[in-house]
Amino acid sequence: MATTVDGKTADFPTDRGPLNYLNCDRGILSWAFTLDHKRIGLMYLISIMASLGLGGLFAMLIRVELAHSGQQIVDENTYNQLFTLHGAIMVFLFILPGIPAALGNFVLPIMLGAKDVAFPRLNLASYHLWVIGALFFLLALVTGGLDTGWTLYVPYAFQTDTRVLTAGVGAFILGFSSIFTGINFVATIHTLRPPGMTWFKMPLFLWALYATAIIQVLATPVLGITLLLLAAELVLGIGIFDPTKGGDPILFQHFFWFYSHPAVYIMILPAMGIMSEVIPTFSRKHIFGYRFIAYSSVAIALLGFLVWGHHMFVSSQSSLASTIFSLLTFSVSIPSAIKVFNWLATMYKGSIALDTPMLYALSFILLFGIGGLTGLFLATLSTDVQLHDTYFVVAHFHYTMVGGTLIAFMAGLHYWWPKITGRMYNEFWGRLCSIGVFAGFNLTFFPQFVMGSRGMPRRYHDFPEKFEIFHFLSSIGAFLMGLAMLGVLIYLLYSLFKGRRAPANPWGSATLEWQCSSPPPKENFAETPSVSDPYDYDHIKYDPEKNCYYRVN
């Protein structure tokens, strides 16, 4: 069957290449009902990138509307739908499944040295549910939209004429999709590690996915019950959240954030995991403080469950509760800070190559740094009173979710692109666009910090003149970033047809997925891979003739 890559026999697939997971079976059904984690991962990848495009389109429309004060292109109601759908699509369809279900699905079993995830059919079901959930979102979009904000706060959600129920059903189904992925990853990491792959020999990306899966499993059911209660209110009128029937709308916020705060760690932990792979590889240095990073992933996952109330400091929850939540919130900031210092220490005395994935990784450190530092303002009780529900919050979570997760996703996408597709993209355009994304992103969101701390409320269709300059700069930045992202799409698509054939190990990584050919064969490894320290680069040597790396034992 497929050739393996060990020793200097690193092969270059000739012409059509040997059989791999992409060409071993043909026909649409062999994709739609595949049980191969790589194909499922690839289908996820395409789907979530389509969602990213749609969410990004809404973002552009928002920034056009907000370029100047007064009405530009859409009225209030349309604008309210735009920011709601932008948020809902980006959160539920892109960021949450983005790294775990797309890149994670592809990489996890190979990195682990396994043939597949523990439950391939559950994995397929997860993808199918994602598609159904996404269809419900589209249905809501075309049948009347949604204007509640992605947070679906009650009682507004009970009073609007838009399609809360349809979107809620969609989110409920997407929740199951997420739970299935989580169950699969936990069981896979526990039971399918080959001999020699002990817990502390696992690449840190797997630790991150493991911690993420725990949150997916423990938090998502609470979203499920919250949405069930919301749906029951809309259909039956059970009144649990409705103040006109004796219910409590603040209880909804507690339920919602009990899921949605841990959910931000579903978004950021896998991103941190990618950093822990990319930075050592491109520095050719062993990761610094492996155990600390591994433990901090789990610590963040668990502490993340105890901080939801920091979204509610001005909601009328008790002052005592707010105080406790503030204190606990700071406890999550420490493990995140540790990771940043550890990544920097990893680069010390390394041999740093500024390839595209590494440029994104460096962007991540800076942007996530700003996102984390500005989080301190929001965790602090009194400053949060000033900043809550202003553009400061908008800028903060975009620095973590876009500057963090999206940038890390881009790093991972470029890092594993040769492995997934078997093709190399154009490095020049890759670097140029990554710099464009970085510059555009900062121009978009940095001014939002300033107008936010000066009082500009979020979710406003119009704004006082004094905020005009900030909004205008923000809109220019958004277009720069949009342009750079479009560039990424173009050169990646181009690489599929004209890109250089990818060698098995183009970057000199030491993790297992680079031991199989690019793209991998159907069952990942024809021979059991040899497990060693995932960050030991002594055995990985560069072959200047073939411009790739090979393994010496």
Partner: protein
């Protein structure tokens, strides 16, 4: 099970291609099932939280409204479910020992218990419907009728005419919680019965043996959880003082 077509010959037909041993396959399945059960508990825990918060804030609603629930039918259902847990556990044992006939019988009894439970639940729901004891927006009680199937025990605590005491505000919220909790539980019972029926069918075809009995075990775990939740629901809703 889900064998790849190009599967080598000494790989057993009931061992999926990506597992090396039956033991590994069973362990993976069992771990997966336990994690799934955790998600189920968390799903219900949202409702338990809502219950605790409303009961703490409005104890009078719960003390008043629970009188309309029929303790005897609730107790009957509890007994039925506990019995079905026993037969389910026994069925798992039978699968491990390759006692095919016992397995089929025990699974059938468990399934039958599920039907009995749903039947009793249907009777209860019918009474509530008839008496207008529904969730908040549909709550429209007909006190005259409801007194008939209200058990005598509580009559002594209240004086004369006001059998149920003074009706507090927002009693409908209790029934909202009651219907959400028991309704979601009933959905789980139905799902469990579907799973048992599936395992029963496979048992009849002789799919299980001492190396491969995972599905019976996993469905059993699920069924025990469904029982366990009811064992909490019964005192929380029916037996309030």
């Amino acid at each position: 099970m889900s064998a790849a077509p190009d599967h080598d010959e000494n790989h057993p037909h009931d061992l999926a291609h990506h597992f090396d041993t039956h033991r590994q396959q069973f362990d993976a399945g069992k771990l997966g099932m336990w994690i799934f059960l955790v998600t189920e508990i968390l799903l219900f825990s949202g409702l338990f939280c809502a219950y605790v918060i409303y009961r703490a804030n409005h104890p009078e609603i719960f003390i008043y409204a629970h009188q309309f629930l029929d303790k005897n039918l609730g107790a009957l259902n509890t007994a039925v479910l506990i019995f079905s847990s026993l037969t389910m556990a026994w069925a798992v044992r039978a699968a491990q020992l390759e006692q095919k006939r016992a397995l089929v019988r025990l699974l059938s009894i468990t399934l039958a218990c599920g039907f009995v439970f749903l039947g009793v639940k249907a009777v209860e729901y019918h009474h509530k419907w008839h008496d207008g004891l529904l969730w908040a927006s549909q709550y429209n009680p007909k006190h005259h009728d409801s007194a008939e199937h209200n058990e005598a025990g509580h009559g002594a605590e209240s004086d004369g005419e006001g059998l149920h005491g003074e009706e507090p505000k927002n009693v409908g919220l209790f029934f909202s919680i009651y219907f959400m909790m028991t309704g979601l539980h009933a959905v789980h019972v139905i799902a469990g019965m579907g799973a048992i029926a599936w395992v029963l069918n496979r048992a009849r075809k002789g799919h299980f043996n001492r190396r491969y009995f995972g599905p019976v075990d996993f469905v059993g775990l699920y069924w025990h959880l469904v029982d366990l939740i009811w064992i909490y629901l019964f005192p929380l809703l029916y037996l309030i003082h």
